[in-house]
């Protein structure tokens, strides 16, 4: 049938030179500023997702990772407001569109077909009064009106099989499924129109570890077969290291480090990434005393000049209060040229520009 997804392209397509989604200088405010000043929750964020790549987006709650995903897909509810930036989507034929400049009809057609989202708390995103088969079929027919209901249901059955659920579950209501199964139904729905980008917002947070492992394996396997790109949002960095090709770490509305997954783990360059990795007690290896990160995340409505992490940072110095660092190539010889970090320890030029003396990169942030 016409809807069957092209299972042909199985070659590993991981290259930064072939971007499928490019986010450029995206800024988002919350609040319109009638009585209060708006809060700048995303400030000039740029991020590129390569074709076939799994990009992890990590950070604590309130750092703007979900906002970034919703803004890039124009799903941000009020009072969220996109105040600037571009989001370029390149489809398989090489045509590029700016999602932020699509009109409503184009946007409606593009959603789900080009970019699909698996929401946070996907367990509750299903409509409780409709059978799941109908819910999947609805989505298909909204985008492909020429498809009959029967065909759409057949396709729904295929999709359920794809995520390891028996097709006779089509006639089940959401409450008859377990949490893990509902999560998989959501993934099946997201894949219904063979999207090129799948955004997953904390898809495993509500599940226990065994189920989390099953879902993560499923995603990896499906990506291999269907060749889509994934933005995987979570606060669990150790999970990301396992499944992501590249990780972007966010803090207070900005990306502070962007590097290959194993580089982030073994050679973190930003003090926050390094501290975050030391916030999880290890299950194996020597038991060691861990400290977490002192203080708490900053109030985004009261951010002044300077680096937002400086109050909690072990390596802060005078310049950190004066300039907010920008993403630069780490000041460590021999690093992967594609990685970047936003820390003044790696950016002597910015330090000199405000009349301070640059300090060297500490040993903790220059491991090889």
């Amino acid at each position: 049938m016409t809807l069957t997804s092209p299972l042909g392209h199985t070659q590993k397509l991981t290259s930064a030179s072939d971007p499928v989604l490019e986010i450029k200088n995206l800024s988002v405010d919350y609040g319109y500023g009638y009585d209060d000043d708006p809060v700048h929750v995303l400030r000039q964020v740029s991020l590129t997702l390569g074709r076939g790549e799994v990009l992890g987006l990590a950070g604590e709650s309130g750092c703007g990772k979900s906002t970034l995903a919703y803004a890039a897909t124009r799903l941000l509810p009020p009072p969220g407001l996109i105040t600037g930036g571009e989001v370029h989507f390149t489809d398989r034929d090489g045509r590029t569109t700016d999602i932020l400049r699509l009109n409503d009809a184009q946007l409606r057609a593009s959603r789900w077909q080009d970019l699909a989202i698996v929401f946070q708390g996907a367990m509750n995103s299903l409509n409780p009064v409709f059978r799941i088969g109908r819910q999947i079929a609805d989505g298909i027919r909204a985008h492909r009106p020429e498809v009959s209901q029967k065909e759409a249901l057949e396709r729904s059955a295929e999709l359920l099989e794809l995520v390891g659920i028996s097709p006779d579950r089509l006639r089940s209501y959401p409450h008859q499924l377990s949490g893990g199964m509902r999560q998989r139904v959501m993934i099946a729905m997201a894949l219904a129109l063979d999207p090129q980008v799948l955004i997953m917002d904390e898809p495993t947070t509500a599940l226990d570890v065994v189920m989390q492992r099953q879902i993560v394996e499923q995603i990896a396997e499906l990506r291999e077969r269907l060749g889509f790109s994934v933005i995987f949002i979570t606060h669990d960095v150790s999970l990301l290291i396992e499944i992501a090709d590249r990780i972007a770490i966010m803090y207070a509305g900005e990306i502070v480090e962007d590097a290959a997954a194993l580089d982030v783990y073994q050679r973190p360059r930003h003090p926050y990434s390094s501290a975050l990795l030391h916030s999880f007690p290890p299950l194996r290896g020597p038991r060691r005393e861990l400290t977490g990160i002192p203080g708490s995340p900053p109030d985004l409505s009261r951010l002044g000049a300077g680096c937002p992490f400086r109050d909690r940072c072990a390596f802060a110095f005078d310049a950190c209060a004066k300039v907010n660092p920008e993403l630069v190539f780490p000041n460590v010889p021999g690093d992967d040229p594609r990685r970047s970090v936003a820390c003044l320890r790696h950016d002597p030029a910015a330090v000199r520009a405000v009349g301070e003396e640059p300090l060297p990169v500490p040993a903790e942030l220059s491991a090889r």
Binding site: S238, F280, P281, L283, R284, S296
Partner: protein, 342 residues
């Protein structure tokens, strides 16, 4: 390990079956069955299990927030079942609970001072003036909210999640308890401040010699924080022992699955692959071992008889027939072939 003293709080054959609603319904949810546990002064016991395994029910039973349907609770070796309001108050003064959600467990219309004062007055009698002020400052100090003046007149919404959880802990300490029941105390907090709370609880254990029950779904944090770890599956304890051995050398097939499923960036190869199945319904739990439908080693014996906890090493127990000397016992593939768990 020597254990001369009697445990502060002890549960013997604890059982909780919830009646299902419905006219004439005889069905019950087997939430907790045959649980024995001991909380000792200056020790942390971790209770690990997935959601729905009954671990929070145990905390609520131990706090006597819900009545048991079987088994006994002993406080210093004596029956502790509180009958009536005053007995319950006395019991609560010795056994305090910390909840998962510090956003929900503090009353938003009262400042920190009110919340703590109330707990102090209820459990320590009429404190006034300088004595009260001193007690409040000492409490905030103990949970590392210093200087106390900065926090004492704040409302919950003015505090961060970690600070709120500290206030909740201070409120529990106001009763001067012997036992702290911490039900997922860090799972709602930002990752960067979780360790701060665990380290605080560890500090309280050492300084005040509290007995702490730490309930969690994160077995790595149990290893970090707890002296002993018990693993629950579908309402039953399946394994117990000191935390280090339980996490490094799990004996029960379920614990093995749990440990191998946890993400570990250091060891990307040794993952459980192809794990399948889900926790069973507790209305009609599987007969025999409740893990048998998912267990790769299960035999006829596992499907018929419930395995008791058996000694599997120094201070360690596992409820698995594989460790019995029955002739028809299942053969556990002891090698760390993760793929075997299917």
């Amino acid at each position: 390990m020597t254990r001369p003293e009697t445990p502060v709080l002890q549960a013997v054959d604890l059982q909780k079956h919830f009646r299902l609603r419905g006219v004439g319904s005889r069905d019950v949810v087997h939430a907790v069955d045959d649980v024995n546990l001991e909380l000792r002064r200056g020790h942390v016991l971790a209770l690990v299990g997935e959601s729905g395994s009954g671990k929070s029910t145990i905390a609520r039973l131990l706090a006597q927030l819900v009545p048991t349907t079987g088994g006994r609770l002993l406080l210093h070796g004596e029956d502790a079942t509180a009958r009536g309001r005053r007995a319950f108050r006395r019991y609560v003064g010795r056994v305090q609970m910390i909840f998962q959600d510090p956003f929900g467990s503090l009353n938003p219309v009262h400042p920190v001072r009110y919340t703590l004062t109330r707990s102090l007055r209820i459990h320590r009698g009429r404190l006034r003036g300088a004595a009260l002020e001193g007690a409040l400052i000492e409490l905030l100090d103990r949970v590392h909210l210093a200087p106390a003046e900065r926090y004492i007149d704040k409302f919950p919404h003015e505090l961060s999640g970690g600070q709120r959880q500290r206030v909740a802990i201070a409120r529990a300490l106001a009763a001067d308890p012997e036992v702290l029941l911490a039900d997922e105390p860090i799972s709602m907090l930002d990752v960067s401040i979780r360790l701060g709370i665990l380290n605080l609880l560890q500090d309280l254990r050492d300084r005040l010699h509290l007995a702490i029950l730490y309930i969690t779904h994160d077995i790595a944090s149990a290893r970090y924080f707890a002296d002993r770890t018990m693993v629950m599956y579908a309402g039953r304890i399946v394994e117990s022992g000191d935390s280090e051995s339980v996490t490094q050398d799990p004996k029960h097939p379920y614990t093995q699955l749990l440990v191998r499923s946890a993400p570990d960036p250091d060891d990307l190869e040794a993952r459980a692959h192809g794990a399948r199945g889900e926790a069973p319904s507790l209305v009609r739990p599987p007969s025999g071992c409740r893990f048998n439908p998912r267990c790769p080693f299960a035999t006829e014996l596992c499907r018929i008889e419930v395995p008791p906890l058996m000694q599997v090493g120094e201070g360690r127990e596992a409820a698995c027939w594989g460790y019995s000397d029955r002739p028809d016992r299942p053969v556990l593939d002891g090698s760390a072939e993760s793929g075997a768990i299917a």
